[in-house]
Symmetry: C3
Subunit: 70 residues, 3 copies
């Protein structure tokens, strides 16, 4: 059987490895959060462009109607 000193050493290494894994995971989560903000900014632009296109297309529809009835 291991003595307390050896058991401590083994467990200490496990905690060190685990700490490193957690730090790496946190960095990935941080990057994903930054990516999320980029996506939200892109989505705002999509909403603006789609709303603008809807407005222009609606105006053209009215022009077409006037041209047809002319």
């Amino acid at each position: 059987a291991q003595n307390a000193e050896e058991q401590f050493s083994v467990q200490n290494q496990q905690v060190v490895v685990l700490s490193e894994t957690v730090a790496a995971t946190q960095q990935q989560v941080q990057q994903l959060q930054e990516s999320y903000y980029e996506i939200m900014n892109a989505n705002k632009i999509f909403v603006d462009e789609i709303l603008h296109l809807q407005k222009v297309v609606k105006a053209q529809h009215q022009v077409n109607n006037e041209l047809i009835n002319h």
Copy 2:
């Protein structure tokens, strides 16, 4: 050198801190997953609006062609 009791105490604190960090990371991941579902819902709306715009623009193109050839 530390005795087993002291080593246990130090390592126990490390495990407590690590547990808290992991819990915080999991909460961030949970929020990112909810954000992902929101993005997916927004994207469905974008697809619908873009498809609708394509349909309307195509119909207007045909009206324009008829007006030109008239």
Copy 3:
């Protein structure tokens, strides 16, 4: 009070549970990263379709102007 052997056993279980939680968190982060790439691909298509619609709508606007001035 516990002896070193018992303390080691309790802490060992904590480290095992923590390792499993970290592994599960990493898997969730991996899936979120894949979801992010899917969103980025969808966004590229959105950009292309919106740019195409803007082009077509602009061309139709010019046709409309010519029809009105005709």
